[in-house]
């Protein structure tokens, strides 16, 4: 469904910054793949190239066999900054409906899709509200509803849960899994959170530091049904997490000598996680060197 071959992106400017060197992987139809990598490794650049928002300087992206030159039809994107990706002058309903209008979906079907999507994310009652009247987690639910109402073939998510508190994050993760299982939509999710990548993904793509290549393409052999408590405390989950973590640490160590301003900026802008986590996660956070 999604093929990324030899993808490279060098930003122009003084000397040029090579963000992506050579990225190759593919996502089969109906799969859920998480991309994880050290801070500043160009995850968002990668996602923007896939979404057709950035033109790569090398290689190509294909969606359903067609080369991406601009935002392809049938692709929905959920951004991290929910506050900036919903239209503040529209109600929740209008926000979800607008892309369907542009897609020329007839009005009765549009109403149906909007209602289904809002019900699916548990916001049927908030249709008449404006996004800024809702909490952060609810706003991101609206963005997710907008994406699924669009009935995309491919769903891209750029750190979708990074800006909400930990409890909301867990809820939204499970919401995503439920929706994904129900709709079977091909999903590519970018995250900096190793736990989240392992918990959500059927596969995890580990990226190296910039200039970025695929460091590892890891199949997650956990049972298909996942649960915040049992899955996260399963020994296999811990093993996979430790493995990915080691990979990223290795990638970071390799790049430690030549950190760029971009890396530091990315680290500083990492959103805070507000709710205290139980001990094992605390331990992990202290050791994985994220700056908070």
């Amino acid at each position: 469904m999604l093929e990324i071959t030899g993808l490279g992106k060098t930003y122009e400017g003084r000397g040029g910054v090579e963000a992506l060197r050579k990225i190759d992987f593919r996502v089969d139809g109906g799969d859920l793949v998480c991309v994880v990598g050290p801070s500043g490794c160009g995850k968002t650049t990668l996602l923007k190239c896939v979404a057709g928002l950035l033109t790569p300087t090398a290689g190509e992206v294909r969606v359903a066999g067609r080369r991406v030159t601009g935002p392809p039809p049938g692709m929905a994107v959920v951004f991290q900054e929910y506050g900036r990706s919903l239209f503040p002058w529209m109600t929740v309903r209008k926000n979800v409906e607008l892309p369907l209008r542009e897609k020329k979906v007839p009005a009765p079907r549009r109403r149906e899709l909007v209602e289904e999507a809002l019900a699916a994310v548990g916001l049927a009652d908030a249709a008449a509200a404006h996004p800024w009247q809702l909490s952060g987690g609810m706003q991101q639910r609206v963005a997710i509803a907008r994406a699924i109402a669009y009935e995309p073939r491919v769903l891209l998510m750029d750190e979708p849960f990074a800006a909400v508190d930990a409890q909301t994050r867990a809820e939204l993760e499970d919401l995503l899994l439920t929706l994904w299982r129900r709709l079977g939509v091909t999903t590519l999710l970018v995250t900096h959170d190793i736990d989240e990548a392992v918990y959500l993904g059927r596969r995890v793509i580990v990226l190296s530091s910039a200039p970025t290549v695929v460091q590892e393409d890891l199949a997650v052999d956990l049972p298909a049904a996942r649960d915040q408590i049992t899955t996260r405390s399963a020994p296999r989950f811990a093993e996979l997490r430790a493995h990915v973590y080691a990979q990223i640490k290795q990638a970071k160590g390799r790049a430690a000598g030549d950190r760029t301003a971009g890396d530091r900026a990315a680290e500083e802008s990492a959103p805070p996680r507000q709710v205290p986590s139980p001990a094992p996660r605390d331990l992990k956070r202290k050791t994985d060197g994220r700056t908070r």
Partner: protein, 270 residues
């Protein structure tokens, strides 16, 4: 029902207090004017009573159709044209980096030229008729609208623009659902500035060379030493400006309802 006996006093008193707050200062000012003009009578400052008398005499007459309505008509025509031109050009310039780089210095220059000095020039080019007066208004009103629109369009949020692109929002739909609403707070700010400039230019255009209009009438009375009548013209202009500003505020509250409410919401959380 038991509370009904005591309740009406509350709202009534609140309404009375409100009225006092709104009307208090104007009443005091008129009172001060009255006392001053009675205590120290001069030819050039008639009492409010005489001005009020002149007001009804002068303005509740054929002057409404011969002077006031033409003035207002020219103002609204010029203002609307300036609005359309300013927003249209502003969207074009704001959307294109190349166009912006080329146009911005020139725009800043034109904005810096005080519009009244264009009156003689436009008189030469367009004659003394209605066209001239409308053009004078357009030439002054267009700049704040244009520059504010450019700024508003340029500042459309990047994530929002990306979202629009991903969901296939383009062309007129993009303009209608994304660019114009996003820029609307700035556009309205420009339109508000343009309104006061428009009223000033309406009067100046009429004072220069004209046979009708409120500005013309005020000058006419001044030259004929009809002082209370002249003052009544000034009052008409003041009331007109006040009325337009009220209408503008009402329109703004409707158009920017989302923006104002969001501002309040943020204020509450801050």
């Amino acid at each position: 029902m038991s509370a009904a006996g005591t309740r009406p006093a509350g709202p009534l008193r609140r309404a009375a207090l409100r009225l006092l707050r709104v009307l208090g200062l104007p009443v005091l000012l008129v009172l001060g004017w009255w006392i001053y003009s009675v205590a120290e009578p001069t030819f050039y400052l008639p009492t409010p009573g005489r001005v009020a008398g002149a007001f009804t005499e002068v303005w509740f007459s054929a002057r409404i159709t011969e002077d006031v309505l033409p003035s207002v008509g020219r103002l609204l025509t010029g203002y609307a044209l300036a609005g359309l031109l300013g927003v249209g050009l502003g969207v074009a310039i704001g959307s294109s980096r190349a166009l912006r780089a080329a146009a911005e210095p020139v725009l800043e220059f034109f904005r810096a030229v005080p519009p009244p000095v264009l009156v003689p020039l436009i008189t030469l080019l367009a004659g003394l008729d209605t066209t001239m007066k409308v053009l004078v208004i357009v030439s002054g009103c267009v700049w704040p609208v244009l520059l504010n629109t450019v700024e508003g369009v340029r500042a459309v949020d990047e994530v929002l623009a990306d979202t629009g692109r991903c969901f296939g929002l383009r062309g007129p739909a993009r303009l209608r659902h994304l660019v114009l609403p996003a820029a609307s707070p700035q556009i309205m700010a420009g339109l508000r500035q343009a309104l006061s400039i428009g009223i000033i230019l309406m009067v100046i255009g009429e004072m220069f060379a004209s046979t009708s209009g409120i500005g013309h009438t005020v000058v006419l009375f001044q030259r004929g030493f009809a002082i209370p009548e002249m003052w009544s013209g000034i009052v008409v202009l003041g009331l007109l400006g006040f009325g337009f500003s009220l209408a503008f505020r009402a329109a703004e509250r409707r158009i920017l309802a989302w923006h104002l409410a969001r501002g309040e919401e943020r204020g509450r959380h801050a």
